[in-house]
């Protein structure tokens, strides 16, 4: 089988050589349909925006984005798409992916075919350990939920956790629980809700009866959050004095307008808010609105893809479009940027995971619109806490 791999590698190199204008093919797999399928376009737009803005750096190399719809948390389909992209379309890179199960299923393909895989969203901590060819430019649930737990322990005595039953949900629950308990708080209950179509009312009733000071929620970013918010207020949990908190996935910038005033006052911890007050962000948001419409706003999914595009462009620039998989991974590992819309970021060379700041935010009305207002920087240059804890073991 080594002959096959050599043949594949040779074919990749040859195709890179043979093209007269250098072309880099990126297999871009994300969700355009299915659960929270409205997020795929945010990823794609961010990548295209970055490519457009930095065309000069590409130095004449053409970038071809082959987009594919994995239709939601569908690992089987994602794997099949990745396999086809690598074998049939001979892509140089794989990128995208919103959902953890999809990323995990694609890992063996990236490894076997030696195709660098830039994860632009999927947030479960363990993903990047599944393949040496994976790099992540988005976030991990531990990065947001652990500082959240630390902060919450200072404000609340008891908390209840409600998460969706899949990788990121488990991570968020564990991270928050660990930090909260370590800080002296007590978790009075935790529930995992099915990923598809849960009936939130029953869960909310349970929470209400347990009377915690705070309810920590994690669900996949987007429409699910609106349903949770509605049920939270409909069952009167806000009036009962329970505070709703969570990682920023529960108050994504593009979904806030649909949530209505029920979202006011919700406190979250996340690495990106469209309302973030930084020059790089102001430029980013302005460019986004200019390109895609004044009523559009980027969100954290977009930022993950934007910075993902940044590292790809850097790899292309340094190698002049002739991408060698191992050299590409080298370049990825050493990447730093002080100017991302979310603040200073870098890639941890050991774990190939993102290192970034985490901000404490509150949903407030700004100029009549709901926004995630950044209150303070809770953590600076935070490496993924889960991996750090693993090291200590």
């Amino acid at each position: 089988m080594r002959v096959e791999k050599a043949a594949l590698a040779a074919a990749l190199l040859l195709s890179a050589f043979a093209a007269s204008a250098q072309t880099v093919k990126i297999g871009f797999i994300t969700s355009y349909s299915g659960l929270n399928g409205n997020l795929g376009p945010y990823m794609e737009r961010a990548v295209r925006l970055y490519l457009k803005q930095h065309e000069k750096e590409l130095g004449g190399v053409k970038v071809e984005l082959l987009t594919r719809d994995d239709t939601g948390p569908n690992p089987d389909k994602a794997r099949q798409l990745a396999q086809e992209l690598v074998v049939r379309d001979k892509v140089n890179l794989l990128a995208g992916v919103i959902f953890t199960p999809n990323a995990m299923a694609m890992a063996p393909i990236a490894s076997e075919a030696k195709v660098p895989f830039v994860i632009m969203n999927a947030g479960t901590a363990v993903i990047t350990t599944r393949s040496p060819y994976m790099v992540r430019t988005s976030f991990t649930l531990w990065q947001s939920s652990y500082p959240l737990g630390e902060w919450a322990a200072k404000k609340f005595k008891t908390a209840y956790t409600l998460v969706s039953d899949f990788g990121p949900g488990h991570d968020s629950e564990e991270a928050f629980g660990k930090a909260f308990s370590a800080g002296g708080g007590k978790i009075v209950g935790s529930v995992r809700a099915p990923l598809q179509n849960p009936d939130w009312a029953a869960y909310m009733q349970r929470v209400k009866d347990a009377k915690p000071d705070a309810l920590m929620v994690f669900i996949p970013a987007g429409k699910t959050a609106t349903a949770v918010m509605k049920n939270f207020s409909e069952l009167g949990l806000d009036k009962a004095g329970i505070k709703l908190i969570g990682p920023g996935d529960i108050t994504t910038d593009e979904e806030l307008p649909n949530m209505g005033d029920v979202a006011l006052g919700v406190i979250t911890v996340h690495h990106y808010s469209a309302a973030g007050d930084r020059p790089a962000n102001r430029e980013f948001v302005a460019a986004w609105k200019k390109e895609y419409g004044q009523s559009e706003t980027p969100n954290f999914v977009a930022v993950g893809a934007y910075d993902g595009a940044a590292i790809i462009v850097e790899a292309i620039r340094q190698q002049k479009g002739r991408l060698d998989p191992d050299k590409t991974m080298q370049i990825f590992r050493q990447w730093k940027s002080a100017d991302s819309p979310r603040g200073p970021i870098s890639i941890d060379p050991e774990t190939r995971d993102i290192v970034q700041n985490e901000y404490l935010r509150e949903v407030r009305k700004v100029n009549g619109q709901l926004a995630n207002v950044e209150l303070e920087t809770l953590a600076t240059a935070l490496k993924d806490p889960w991996k750090e804890l693993q090291k200590k073991k």
Binding site: M1, E4, L8, S33, R68, D69, T71, P73, N74, P75, D76, K77, R79, Q80, Q83, E84, V86, V87, R88, T100, P101, M104, A105, A107, P108, I109, E112, A113, R130, D165, F166, G167, P194, L195
Partner: protein, 329 residues
């Protein structure tokens, strides 16, 4: 509707599917993993045809056996270090058979809607268990890292799907042989009898109920093997092998090809999966629409599916020929 002919000898046209498959192996190396999936679904469709086309049992729950087989192989390969592919297949077959006989014995006493509901309930239960027991099945994340040792110690399951294709082809061959022997036997004749006129079969003293349970179990076993094959080919298993969707898809595939005719199970999946590969990526909405319309058209006008149409066309041709001959005299 064929089922029992007095001539069980293998006709020369029947080697056609195998020739096409082998040709595909050499001519379409980039499409072999799609090919392997098609082969798996053909086996799955054969298993459904056995009970639907021949015994007349309408079920939407066949994915339960498929999924159980898939997860058995997956769990063994990922969690318990049982990596020999044949062992995995045997275990999957056993598990599916067990589920088949236990559920079949219970539900085959009912008919029509009740039976349909029960099959749905069963596959939904299996789905729920797989979803909840995430410590074992990986839940919504799926089970990745399924280790499958090289077949016969020599042929590793590679990225291009070559080993997978041949492996599935051989498995399908055996499945096909089995089904063929079954339907061209007195047992097969009895199945057709049960399907066409159950009351009369009872009157003739045939043990209807137990025959149904037997064929249901056999069908379940085959479906389980098909599921295991899919897991081995992908080295991955996720929740999508269970529930209403794969059952529904399979039903559509079989109807397209033609129910109750051995080769409908071959034609249907090929047409469906190839078309899906080509069309559904670009225009998923149009894909559903197209399949829906096709299904209704088939139900209204072409009950025998593609092979049925083919038959009619052949008949029309031979009628033309004989009338030409007649008028020539």
């Amino acid at each position: 509707m064929s089922g029992y002919t007095s001539n069980p000898r293998i006709r020369p046209q029947e080697s056609l599917p195998w020739i096409i498959a082998i040709a595909a192996f050499f001519l379409l190396p980039e499409y072999l993993s799609l090919g392997a999936r098609i082969l798996v679904y053909i086996l799955f469709a054969l298993s459904l045809d056995l009970i639907l086309g021949y015994a007349g049992i309408i079920t939407l729950g066949h994915s339960a056996f498929f999924g159980l087989g898939a997860y058995t192989a997956g769990i063994l390969g990922a969690k318990y270090g049982v990596t020999d592919p044949f062992l995995q297949l045997i275990a999957a077959a056993a598990a599916a058979a067990l589920l088949g006989i236990s559920t079949g014995a219970v539900i085959l006493r009912t008919k029509a809607l009740t039976l349909l509901m029960l099959t749905l309930a069963i596959t939904s239960i299996v789905l729920e268990i797989a979803n909840k027991a995430s410590w074992l099945t990986g839940g919504a994340d799926g089970l990745s890292g399924v280790q499958v040792a090289p077949v016969l110690g020599l042929f590793k399951f590679d990225l291009f799907g070559r080993t997978a294709f041949i492996y599935c082809l051989v498995a399908l061959f055996f499945g096909w042989l089995l089904v063929r022997r079954l339907i061209y036997s007195p047992f097969g004749a009895m199945l057709t009898g049960i399907r066409e006129n159950t009351a009369r079969m009872h009157a003739v003293g045939a043990p209807v109920y137990w025959r149904l349970v037997l064929v249901y179990t056999l069908s379940a076993t085959m479906a389980g093997v098909a599921g295991a094959l899919l897991t081995q080919v992908n080295q991955f298993v996720g929740l999508n092998v269970l529930g209403l969707e794969p059952s529904g898809d399979l039903l559509v595939m079989l109807i397209l090809g033609g129910v109750g005719r051995l080769y409908g199970a071959f034609v249907g999946p090929v047409v469906y999966l190839v078309a899906q590969d080509y069309l559904a990526k670009q225009y998923p909405e149009y894909w559903y629409f197209g399949i829906g319309v096709l299904l209704i058209v088939v139900v209204l006008f072409a009950r025998g599916g593609i092979l049925g149409l083919f038959d009619k066309w052949l008949q029309a041709l031979s009628r033309q020929r004989s009338s030409a001959r007649a008028s020539a005299r």
